[in-house]
Symmetry: C2
Subunit: 456 residues, 2 copies
């Protein structure tokens, strides 16, 4: 689909959606997004031009079905996949991608750190993906110097970043906001630095006593991104790894730098979103969202969770879906999912499913709370089906129809129960939904009450 | 334990904790609660006297370990169990009770509607329970007239209510706030009345065109409760059953009546908490909590969820844990759990576990967000263990240690991995927690940065 759209743009010095938007052009991608979001195309263009919305759409990702990330559009969900050194291969990763898309992932990040040829895995994923693909180039940069952090040079980073662009990666996490002067601020933390990419950059800076090369070469990255329309996902290397560390000086200092970098990228019409925490108590979530908007001039916010407590490993899809729903309500544009295996191990297919559904719930609840037009329609339709005991319709309208059906059928599998006026929860005689008060009953009652009050 | 405490009170006309508190007495129960909550005993007494806290503690539930429900104490979680007409028996219900207590239920409601002798099941549960037991007497009242709603009389209700008191039930859901004049207000709803007890009362009123007998005989119930110290849990018959119906006139009209009834009960020193919704969009949760405090003079609020979207049957422990966490943060005193089987079938043991942990997460996150002293200590301790790769300690500090261990061991079962500086999520070389920046590194860096800025 996109090949035809992109052909005339090839060879231009700047092919970003933001660049076209700022020239007043409504691209095919913007038009596509407008229809998906049921929003006016010129609103999409204006939001992209303003930097408040991004359409991550590398010109080399031609099978992409464009989507938007921004406060004006529906809240989005990202799923992470990726091979780890001793697990997974190309086929498995493509399967995980398909699973993520099936359960509603709006974008997918390939966080592969090993387990095969990283370039081949990435290419296979992009070729199979209708959704934007994001990556974290630091991992491969480190692999290119055989894991010896001190050997990394700015050129190593730029080389990998450009390679990902060529392959069609739609956005890359760039840890450019972590400055050497931020490092002493982690002293009072319980969990220090918990960003993998950020940790690598920190070690590099400690070894060389030099400024972050991704910061000093930020304009070089911009020049690369311009030619492919790869979007920045500015990494938050100092995101808190536990409640204790949330909203501290380290985190907020980096956020300020991320805001400065956002505006530098915008000077070159390059699209930006900004990554956020992490682990945050409920009462600090609104502050975190507002602060990001303020510091980063309303560039879309893309948060990981946040987890609202640290004491539930095994259930962190839930601890974080609570924070994610609230963050989405306050205006966060995209939520990065967390699976039940977080902090414990590599997620399997069932974990991906559970993580994604938890986040689809969070994003949808956020859309409803933000009063997006039509956001509640599906809820109302399902509720009507529920009240009418139309079980099959109720399942069909569910976020995970197979799961809903499976749970129902666990106790009442026979077909006849698909129209029964009860389930096994309350049994045949006690379902409250059987208490249907008819219009006639109520009209009669109203007449009675009128007469009654006239007598009083 | 309580037998000795209660002996001298027997035969007194009013044995409620509120009655003693208002006389300035700190009962053994208040003292016990004060130690559990790490709060001054006179604060507990004052809150109970004020009606802002209840200690549900029937004098006939002697094996009870007293606990408190109120905004001054930690947020609590209730689990529902109960036999349904074609499932479960006494042993199974006692097993469910033990399971609920194991996973942290602060109170348990026996919602049995059949499947055996209701009195025997209830007695077995109370005898086995260290936590307060709540019931909904309407179900048994209906059973006593063989399910023929129109046959129910006020005496039938009072008879069952007193029976439950005699058996040692600590609180009963009383649907006294649903008035006949509220019924026409459900006309515009999608899901009408979704409270089982409320539905029964509504049908009774429609049939007889008479006022709710639980309302007209409210003082008779008070007289019974006084003698046993059974607490009111004022039922919200008109709680919304879907987002569309949330915060509507029907719900709020009943809430106003619940507030009036609260104050009537307080005139007789009888303890009260008030039940709340249900299904509520995130942006209406704070309103619902504040409104209840206002209408009900700050009597403890006890909510079911609320679910923040209707489209995820099979995952309603998550849709509702989001709402519950927020409700707890805004000041709700107790959260009634919802299991993954909600709307689909009778929960099994695994569902009870998943529902309870989701709600322990919600209540704990609420305690943290409300800045209760020490609420975050366990989070900090677990985070320290996590950063130190002390896996066993991390598991032990978890809400569900078995689950955390199981997930970790799924990929790395060998003992040696319990001290490994990684898990299978990132593999041996990429765990961000390995990036430990030492004090020495930072001191050296700070010196360097000082010199550097002096040069600038």
């Amino acid at each position: 689909m996109r090949s035809d759209w992109i052909a005339p743009r090839r060879g231009q010095a700047n092919v970003t959606q933001m660049h076209y938007a700022r020239q007043g052009v409504i691209t095919e991608e913007m038009d596509f997004v407008a229809r998906r979001e049921n929003l006016p195309a010129d609103l999409i263009r204006d939001e992209v031009a303003r930097g408040r919305m991004i359409i991550p759409a590398n010109i080399n990702h031609t099978n992409l079905e464009p989507m938007a990330i921004g406060i004006a559009s529906k809240c989005k969900v990202n799923a992470n996949i990726g091979a780890s050194p001793n697990a997974s291969n190309i086929d498995e990763e493509v399967e995980k991608l398909k699973l993520a898309v099936k359960y509603g992932a709006d974008t997918v990040m390939d966080l592969s750190t090993g387990g095969g040829n990283l370039d081949e895995i990435r290419t296979a994923i992009i070729n199979a993906s209708p959704v934007p693909i994001g990556t974290v180039p630091v991992y491969q940069a480190l692999e290119s110097v055989h894991g010896r952090i001190e050997k990394l040079s700015a050129d190593d980073f730029l080389h990998v970043i450009e390679k990902h662009c060529e392959q069609g990666v739609d956005y890359q996490t760039i840890h450019a906001g972590l400055l050497i002067e931020h490092l002493p601020k982690v002293k009072s933390r319980i969990t220090g630095i918990v960003s993998r990419g950020g940790g690598i950059i920190a070690q590099w800076m400690l070894y060389h006593h030099k400024q972050n090369p991704l910061y000093t070469h930020f304009r070089d990255i911009i020049e690369i991104f311009k030619r492919y329309d790869c979007s920045f996902s500015l990494g938050d290397s100092l995101r808190p790894g536990c409640l204790h560390d949330a909203s501290d000086d380290a985190q907020l200092s980096e956020l300020k730098t991320l805001g400065q970098l956002t505006r530098v990228a915008w000077e070159h019409d390059v699209q930006v979103m900004v990554e956020g925490p992490g682990h945050v108590p409920m009462d600090q979530i609104e502050f975190n969202v507002r602060k990001q908007m303020e510091e980063c001039s309303e560039a879309p916010f893309y948060v990981l969770g946040p987890l609202v407590t640290d004491i539930a490993p095994g259930y962190d899809h839930i601890t974080s879906a609570i924070g994610a729903a609230m963050a989405g309500w306050y205006g966060t544009a995209m939520l990065c999912y967390v699976t039940p295996k977080e902090h414990l191990g590599l997620p399997n297919a069932e974990d991906v499913r559970n993580g994604l559904i938890a986040y689809k719930i969070a994003a949808h609840a956020a859309d409803i709370a933000r009063h997006r037009p039509g956001a509640r329609d599906r809820d109302d339709e399902l509720s009507r089906a529920r009240y009418a005991f139309d079980w099959n319709k109720q399942f069909d309208l569910s976020l995970d129809p197979e799961r809903a059906r499976e749970y129902h059928d666990e106790t009442l599998p026979a077909d006849i129960y698909k129209t029964a006026e009860f389930c096994s929860m309350c049994g045949p005689k006690h379902c409250p939904m059987q208490t249907k008060i008819t219009e006639e009953d109520l009209t009669e009652l109203e007449k009675f009450l009128e007469k009654d009050s006239a007598l009083a």
